[in-house]
């Protein structure tokens, strides 16, 4: 039996009276590149925050590789092999690029809270950090303080931090947001390269990126997934078109 990488079962989230996620069911098989799209305010980022335990769910169940992670904390989920990036760049601003990435590999190499080992002597951590920095194309910025990198460089570092620990389920929240056309092209190539053989789930607004990268796409509208399928199926779906055109959606396009 093939256990899915990530499975959401009837997941709901409300903030006070406001229902943001209203019974989402989603199965992402291992090795799939899955994109979540939808209009602004549909709850895409919230869904990510639930899946990565940034927020607790109101009800429902989330399993990672067959194991329930519904009640875990972010660091616990990360240790089980799920890693995420953020829509707004979320890095260690006062540390160098190298330190940023090295901090992200330490736990996965089992160094934990060690205060008796020298960082400089951790060969595997240093080598892995250098490999990741090479992969994200920031080798020449290795010693630069992360806070003064350019926007595109910070976005690349954000992805580097996310993948450095070797997690096999990667969640990317709008990885190309705010990028120019050429920067977006580079970012897509980078994402393709570093998520090779992993499960990738991404929220993305840029449809060319979505249709380029994704194996399957889910469309989230008003906290519900109205369609899931291959890019071709999604393109052809009447419900999706309706949702995106937004004309008669309020009357119900669930069917």
């Amino acid at each position: 039996m093939n256990v899915p990488a990530l499975q959401l079962t009837d997941v709901r989230k409300s903030f006070g009276q406001t229902v943001i996620i209203n019974g989402v069911n989603l199965i992402v098989p291992r090795g799939e590149r899955h994109a979540i799209i939808g209009p602004n305010g549909a709850g895409k980022s919230t869904l990510f925050n639930l899946a990565s335990a940034r927020f607790p769910v109101t009800s429902g169940d989330i399993t990672l590789k067959g194991e329930s992670v519904t009640d875990l904390k972010p660091h616990q989920i990360n240790r089980l092999g799920l890693s995420r990036s953020f829509q707004l760049t979320n890095i260690f601003t006062n540390l160098s690029v190298f330190e940023n990435v090295r901090c992200s590999v330490l736990w996965s190499l089992n160094y934990k809270y060690s205060f008796w080992r020298r960082l400089a002597a951790l060969r595997d951590a240093n080598e892995q950090a250098h490999r990741v920095i090479d992969a994200i194309g920031l080798a020449h910025r290795s010693d630069t303080v992360a806070g003064i990198l350019s926007y595109a460089e910070q976005r690349a570092l954000e992805i580097g931090i996310t993948i450095a620990g070797g997690a096999d389920v990667i969640l990317l929240d709008e990885p190309t947001a705010g990028m120019s056309k050429s920067e977006t092209g580079d970012a897509v190539a980078l994402i393709r390269r570093v998520t090779e053989g992993k499960t990738l789930i991404m929220v993305e607004h840029d449809m060319s990126v979505v249709f380029d990268l994704a194996d399957r796409i889910s469309v989230l509208v008003y906290g519900e997934i109205i369609a899931t399928g291959t890019p071709a199926e999604i393109r052809a779906s009447a419900a999706v078109q309706e949702a995106y055109l937004g004309t008669t959606f309020a009357e119900g396009s669930h069917d």
Binding site: I91, N94, L95, L106, Y113, S114, F115, R118, L119, R123
Partner: protein, 421 residues
């Protein structure tokens, strides 16, 4: 990209540590007067204490208003251990500071877990509460804390070993110096470990630290325990040094002084608090020796640093070292020369005002001397002169300061251009 593991101490580091050790050994031979020795003992203790404080503030981003609690716990534990050892001779006096360290560590375990859930304001408030709690507990349990008189002890126990019984101040100095050297080394080493680095990561961005597998609370908790350990050692050394511990050692004043030392020295640099501890200790002695208003000047100095040099002395040094390395230090000197006179005028005006105000308030018998001149504070003229001096100085400063900024702008542009090429 090198797979080689760098040596434990690079040649440069080795020289730096060697120089520090040598300095600590030679200093008491040069300044061998009694008060100089006791001042050096006190400075050494404050170096450990302020470095331990900076493990929280600078390295982990935890602003504590109650760090004296751990210093005090260590001090009281050590003085009681000393008195116990005096009867039972179970431990040599030289390792008693370790008892203080362990007590401080236990304090960290006890108070750390509740207070490290969050950083920021919550942590600061809880630390203040814990500090006050300890301070008031010290007056409630006179058996442990000795009430207002404190607890005293005698560090000279048993026979001298190779002529060492820690009676003379010079012997206790070398004991303190050895502990200080070890503690600085250990605290520096900690910054080079996974925990040390993750403390920086948690300081910068606790949320991101969570998403790379670390529990920020646990990182803060461990740093707090270790900081408590070193603060406890500092307290233990102070107990041996003064052979006396009072409630003051765990009160708000001590917590405030250590904050000030770390901040003035520079919390962004490992060695910053060392500079702060030395500078503030020396200033306290020097300024308190000439004026009653020394605390006022301390406040003024602290305010000035917070407003105009928040990176502390260490960051000022680092900025100028950058210019020195680029061979451009001379370029800012003309601008510095221009602000020197306005600075001195402002300083003279302010000092005159403060001294006259103190004279007025205290009605001292002796006539007031400001910069050697005798002044009658009951006439109007000196007040007007001092006010005018201050105002004039401030205006000139306002006018001449842009030159300093401009000189720095140019020099930095020069350096960055160099780098870009």
């Amino acid at each position: 990209m090198s797979a080689l593991v760098p040596p434990l101490l690079s040649r440069r580091r080795f020289f730096l540590w060697g120089a520090l050790a040598l300095l600590m050994i030679v200093l008491p031979l040069v300044f061998d007067k009694g008060y100089a020795l006791s001042l050096m003992c006190q400075i050494s203790i404050m170096i450990i204490f302020s470095l331990s404080y900076n493990m929280l503030l600078g390295q982990t981003g935890l602003l504590s208003f109650g760090h004296a609690a751990y210093f005090g716990i260590g001090a009281f534990a050590t003085i009681h251990a000393l008195n116990f050892v005096g009867k039972a001779a179970a431990l040599p006096v030289s390792i008693l500071p370790l008892v203080g360290g362990l007590a401080g560590l236990l304090g960290g375990v006890l108070f750390g877990y509740v207070s490290t859930k969050r950083a920021g304001t919550t942590f600061a408030m809880i630390s203040l509460g814990i500090g006050e709690l300890m301070a008031s507990a010290s007056l409630m349990f006179p058996v442990v804390f000795g009430g207002e008189a404190g607890v005293s002890g005698n560090r000279v126990i048993g026979k001298a070993v190779f002529g060492v019984n820690f009676g003379p101040q010079i012997q206790i100095y070398y004991l303190i110096a050895a502990w200080t050297f070890l503690c600085i080394l250990a605290m520096y080493a900690l910054t080079q470990t996974p925990l040390g680095r993750m403390a920086n990561a948690v300081r910068d961005n606790p949320e991101r630290a969570q998403f790379v597998g670390y529990d920020p609370q646990w990182v803060r908790f461990m740093m707090m325990i270790l900081a408590g350990f070193f603060a406890g050692i500092a307290g233990g050394l102070s107990a041996l040094n003064y052979e006396m511990v009072t409630a003051e050692s765990l009160g708000g004043w001590t917590s405030g002084v250590v904050l000030m030392m770390a901040f003035v020295g520079g919390i962004g640099f490992f060695y910053g608090p060392i500079i702060g501890a030395v500078l503030i200790s020396l200033l306290a002695i020097a300024v308190a020796g000439v004026t009653k208003a020394w605390l006022f000047y301390f406040g003024l100095f602290f305010l000035t640093m917070v407003l105009y040099a928040p990176g502390g002395i260490a960051s000022l040094l680092a900025m100028h070292k950058r210019l020195w390395n680029a061979g451009l230090l001379l370029m800012v000197m003309p601008a510095y020369a221009r602000v020197t006179i306005p600075l001195l005028l402002t300083f003279a005006g302010l000092v005159s005002l403060v001294e006259m105000a103190y004279q007025q308030a205290e009605v001292l018998e002796t006539p007031l001397l400001v910069f050697g001149a005798s002044i009658d504070v009951n006439s109007l003229a000196p007040w007007l002169i001092a006010l005018a001096l201050t105002a004039f100085g401030l205006v000139l400063l306002k006018l001449s300061w842009p030159r300093v900024s401009e000189a720095w702008r140019q020099v930095l542009a020069g350096i960055n251009g160099e780098v870009a090429r």
